[in-house]
């Protein structure tokens, strides 16, 4: 009797705390279902341009180690306001690498997502929309680099070191709030920003920083990113 009770208890714990490993593509599609949530991404994953990612409302993905999610194919993250999707670190004391959108000509759609504790989330050479996405406690909340058009609608950035950084490219923003970060909006030399800067407030060091102004102020000719590209490319 006791033995049966122990087994039943163990089984109920296993069910309660079960996590599903992040799946590989099936028929060029990775589909994360709410019924199998939470998922665990133990190693980094790259989805090529031929593989699409679809995430249902209510899915939670825990990222362990220095996991990186690099998305080159079509992306539809479809949370709802009642059941948002969440990307979180598995180990509360350690960050994960981040989610990277490099979808090229495939317009990505991300709705009702919470991204926490990543080092850097990026959009590179892609266009898409973030709607009601909350970037919380990341080092770079969102870094947009050479992206033709990225729209932020109803998003928020809180407790990030650099909330929103824009390299060259264009970011459009509506009803998006950037507050309680160390730096709010950082515009690298050559970046374009379209939107109202009023919702960017109460950031610790600066609400809006423009690299070209900083360089002129300090008499510098070489930007931070140029140094880094020389180092990476030489």
């Amino acid at each position: 009797m006791k033995k049966a009770l122990v087994i039943a208890l163990m089984a109920s714990f296993t069910v309660a705390f079960a996590v599903t490993p992040f799946p590989g593509p099936k028929g060029h599609k990775v589909f994360l279902k709410a019924s199998k949530s939470p998922y665990l991404l133990e190693n980094s994953v790259v989805l090529p341009a031929t593989d699409s990612l679809i995430i249902e409302a209510g899915v939670e993905v825990f990222m362990s180690g220095y996991a990186k999610l690099l998305l080159r194919g079509s992306v539809q993250i479809l949370g709802t306001s009642q059941k948002p999707v969440a990307f979180r670190n598995a180990d509360s004391s350690d960050s994960w690498n981040g989610v990277h959108f490099a979808t090229g000509s495939q317009y990505f759609v991300v709705r009702n997502l919470v991204i926490e504790n990543a080092f850097r989330n990026t959009v590179t050479q892609s266009s898409g929309i973030f709607e009601n996405v909350h970037f919380v406690n990341n080092y770079y909340g969102l870094w947009v680099e050479n992206a033709p058009k990225v729209e932020l609608v109803g998003c928020s950035f809180r407790r990030n070191r650099f909330a929103l950084s824009v390299g060259t490219g264009s970011v459009h923003f509506k009803k998006t709030e950037i507050r309680d970060n160390v730096f709010g909006l950082y515009l690298e030399k050559g970046a374009t920003f379209v939107g109202d800067t009023a919702p960017i407030h109460d950031n610790l060091e600066a609400d809006v920083r423009r690299e070209s102004d900083e360089m002129a102020g300090k008499g510098r000719k070489v930007s931070h990113s140029v140094w880094q590209r020389i180092e990476a490319g030489f």
Binding site: S44, K68, N97, V226, W227, R229, I230, E231, A232
Partner: protein, 274 residues
Amino acid sequence: MKCLVLLFPLLLIACGQQEVNLAFDTQNTADQVFSLEAKLRVLVDDDTSTESPESMNSHLQVRIHSKLLTAYDDGTGRFMMKVDSVSYTSDNRSVEETRHIERYLGMESFQFKMAGDGQMSAVNMDDFVALPDLGDLDIRKTFLKIQPVLPSSPVKMGATWERQHLINDEEGKQLFVYKWFKLEDVFVRNGVLLAKLQMNIKYKQRTDDSLHTMESEDFVLGSGSILFDVNAGKIVEGTLEVEGKMRMIEKQEGAADTIPSLRVHQTILLKSGV
């Protein structure tokens, strides 16, 4: 006795009577551990300024282990290199960025095919997972610069040879590095027969990313030396000083060409078995 066995051919080589065969062991080499170090200093090339020029300094040290995965019948071998530990400092990056670089480099692993002469091809990251993002570092480039290309036939002391080393990146872009070598010395150290090679390199740099084109105004030049374990067919240590003048061109439409020329100086040190 072992000493005598080594000394006799050594005397013949030293007198220019006998040739030495230099080739990498690509068929049954044991696992190896390397320390690879790269110091980089970049300065704005501005003679007109009276103040000290803008600059950037970084120092990367990685411990890598290399493993032979497959030995092929044509004499080539497929190797895997995996980073065991990383130490990185830079005066242009924050503590968190530095830590980020250490963490992703620490997970880096790549495979390549190598012929007996040291020519490396298909130098690919495993599964593209650790592919560096824009502005992140890639140790493959550093490693390929210092990798010697050996003569295809035995050579005498003082012999010189030159080869082109083709370096392909993931996007299929090619960089030809011209490498010139001279067999300077052959000697025994701690019972190991070593060949000292003088190495000079030159290449024209042109690297494109989505925002900038980086190109060298003239040839990038480098010189250094390699100590090669003749019998084991492996590098013992190597040093290379590389210098060039770079131009960064912004691709953005209407961007004023305001980035000055930059002088780049890189020191690469490679040591086996540390």
